[in-house]
């Protein structure tokens, strides 16, 4: 089986739950091998550890009402961080021992799993959780822990966590720790590290002034305040897209730049320079200046 989807949607939880339901706590240790990125998983491990584990056959031993089917399970968590060689080495192993061993792959990006492996698995996509599911779960936790949450805070929580339940719970716990048992939406925003609206707005305003130096100063301030630029870029995008006073063509130009800057940031480029570049391009787009200088 292959589980894929964004972080915090319950992939690992599901896999572990299946394993527990099949074997129960007693046999779990001997029947399930769990490997994740914190374990060494080079080609050698695939060739030795996984193969050895996969090769051993087991019988059906019904114990304590668990089905205990006659095969074992290997869970490869975060499989997208395995090397391609290691994945290739798995192909034949999977087929040879398919009678006695089943594989669970768990990953965020299915594109990083090589096609031959993916085609050997039943795929399950884990969508980002819907607001409804999330709020139910959150309310359940609130009840258990004795935390009170009003409707507005609940809505904020599901919007800032973007369908990532783990993140929502982390925020909730941090907020509960910091602000006591009744939590408002502003508390949640302050623990989540989201950037306040007015910071983003003032950046846009400084771009609208058309003065490079004004924008530069604003960028400097943002960096000094330590706001994460990748977050800022995504919030800036929201503001740009929803702005009514900017023509579509300019919007497109700004968005293109935002996309490029985001890629650069992922590659590890410097935050200050990228943000400055974004700001300067925004100015140029807003005032319809050409992309490159023509003399």
């Amino acid at each position: 089986m292959l589980f894929y989807g964004p972080p915090g949607t319950g992939k690992t939880t599901t896999a572990l739950a299946i394993a527990y339901q099949l074997y129960g706590p007693e046999l779990y240790k001997s029947r399930v091998l769990e490997l994740n990125a914190s374990d060494e998983r080079g080609i050698n491990v695939v060739r030795t550890k996984i193969k050895d584990f996969a090769a051993v056959a087991v019988g059906t031993a019904r114990k304590g009402g668990y089905p205990c089917p006659p095969y074992k399970i290997i869970i490869l968590d975060e499989a997208d961080s395995m090397t391609e060689d290691a994945q290739n080495a798995l192909r034949r192993t999977m087929e040879t021992y398919s009678k006695v061993t089943r594989f669970f792959f768990i990953c965020n990006y299915i594109s990083r799993i090589i096609e031959p492996l993916a085609s050997r698995c039943a795929k399950f996509r884990f969508k980002p959780l819907s607001e409804e599911v999330m709020s139910n779960r959150i309310l359940h936790i609130c009840n258990e822990e004795g935390v009170s949450l009003d409707a507005q805070a609940l809505a904020t929580l599901s919007s800032i966590s973007n369908g990532d339940l783990r993140r929502a719970i982390t925020y909730l716990q941090s907020a509960a720790r910091l602000f006591g048992s009744s939590i408002s939406s502003t508390d949640l925003i302050s623990v989540s590290g989201a950037i306040p609206e007015d910071v983003v707005k003032s950046l846009l305003a400084s771009c609208k002034s058309g003065e490079f130096d004004v924008a530069n100063k604003e960028v400097n301030n943002i960096i000094a305040d330590g706001y994460p630029v990748s977050q800022l870029i995504s919030q800036f995008l929201d503001v740009i897209v929803h702005a009514d006073d900017i023509p579509d063509e300019q919007k497109a130009r700004i968005c293109k730049k935002l996309g490029e800057a985001d890629k650069c940031l992922v590659d590890g480029a410097d935050e200050y320079l990228q943000l400055l570049d974004v700001a300067s391009e925004t100015i140029r787009a807003l005032f319809d200046m050409p992309q490159t200088l023509v003399f």
């Binding site: 990125a37 914190s38 975060e78 783990r166 935050e271 570049d277 003399f295």
Partner: protein, 354 residues
């Protein structure tokens, strides 16, 4: 003792600049337990100070007795054994280290060393605070693989170990790690706050500050508190009593970059480019980080340009910095930036003045 260390707040109560954050942290550890933490903010904003104060708050004075050790770890990867030497600061309750020092082998550090430490459950007779704190610095410099390895470690050993991560830019930390931590933003202190701190130190040291002196240092320090205090002390050594127009000497590498910028502005030719290369090498062999050179160079150039050119230049600076990150030799990219600047500037001059 340097003033920077002498006047570092030791407890959360004494933290002046980030008192709000400090109060929150205090509430956080009041209940014997805390989540994993990720501190981020620009350098010189007080992340480390907050972390040390937090640890002290959690464990009391015992956490202050630290010893420095260089440990060599032998890691068996199956095909070969590698040795990693790491400097660690440790007390009975916490261990602090800098896993990115191991360079490209940082993955093994996270996988083996941290796991090893996380596994060892501290024994406490009273049964309280049965967890260790592991402080990891510069997590943003860790490779992707190492960060991936970190995720599961964090969950698996969360019963016995809390991680405190510290980094400059949280964009470089993967989403997966961030979502497992409580993120704490530590913003750089504003100039007013720096002035307050400087005046406080001045009072403690019995110094007589002329009006506007602290404000000038604060302005010069670029909202970096550590640098401001260092400047302050330099001024004190240089000349005391302070004169009203005294300024701290700028850092020598910054001055050097300013010279380079002036050189570039004066003449744009292959010959000059060659001369600039020598100077750039000079900076690089003195271990000035290449991105700082590029940023400073940009800042210097921006001071002297028309606004049209500014857009163009800052675009190219961002472009070459990105390329520098992808490549491995910094000098090419800085030089490419200088060459690009020369060509643009020359074209500009020719078109304006003929």
């Amino acid at each position: 003792m340097l003033w920077v260390d002498k006047y570092r707040p030791k407890t959360l109560d004494k933290v002046t600049v980030h008192d709000q954050v400090a109060q929150n942290l205090k509430k956080l550890v009041a209940e014997q337990d805390c989540p994993h933490l990720l501190f981020y903010g620009p350098s010189g904003s007080g992340k480390k100070t907050l972390i040390m104060a937090l640890i002290k708050q959690m464990f009391g004075a015992g956490a202050e007795k630290v010893k420095m050790e260089n440990k060599t770890w032998k890691i068996d990867t199956g095909s070969r054994t590698i040795e990693i030497e790491l400097a660690m600061l440790s007390s009975t309750h916490h261990v602090e280290m800098n896993p990115s020092d191991a360079g490209f082998q940082d993955r093994y550090v996270v996988q083996e060393v941290i796991k090893e430490m996380a596994k060892n459950r501290p024994i406490d007779a009273k049964g309280k605070r049965a967890f260790k704190v592991l402080v990891l610095n510069e997590v943003d410099k860790l490779s992707r693989e190492a960060q991936h390895s970190l995720r599961r470690t964090m969950e698996k050993y969360s019963a016995s170990c809390r991680l405190i991560l510290c980094c400059n830019s949280s964009s470089k930390v993967t989403e997966a790690v961030r979502s497992r931590c409580l993120n704490v933003r530590v913003n750089a202190p504003s100039e007013d706050q720096i002035v307050q701190v400087l005046e406080f130190i001045g009072k403690k040291e019995n110094l007589n500050l002329p009006f506007g002196f602290a404000a000038r240092i604060a302005a010069q320090s670029n909202r970096n508190l550590r640098r401001a205090i260092l400047f302050f002390e330099t001024c004190k050594v240089q000349q005391y009593p302070f004169t009203s127009n005294q300024v701290a000497p700028p850092l020598d590498w910054e001055q050097y970059v300013a010279e380079i910028a002036a050189d570039i502005m004066k003449e744009q030719s292959p010959k000059r480019l060659y001369a600039v290369r020598q100077k750039l090498y000079e900076l690089l062999v003195n271990c000035i980080p290449p991105e700082s050179i590029l940023k400073k160079l940009l800042a210097e150039l921006l001071k002297k340009l028309d606004s049209d050119l500014k857009h163009e230049i800052c675009h190219w600076a961002a472009h070459y910095e990105h390329k520098m990150r992808l490549g491995s030799k910094a000098i090419f990219h800085i030089e490419a930036f200088v060459a690009k600047f020369m060509s643009i500037y020359k074209e500009f001059l020719v078109s304006t003045f003929g």
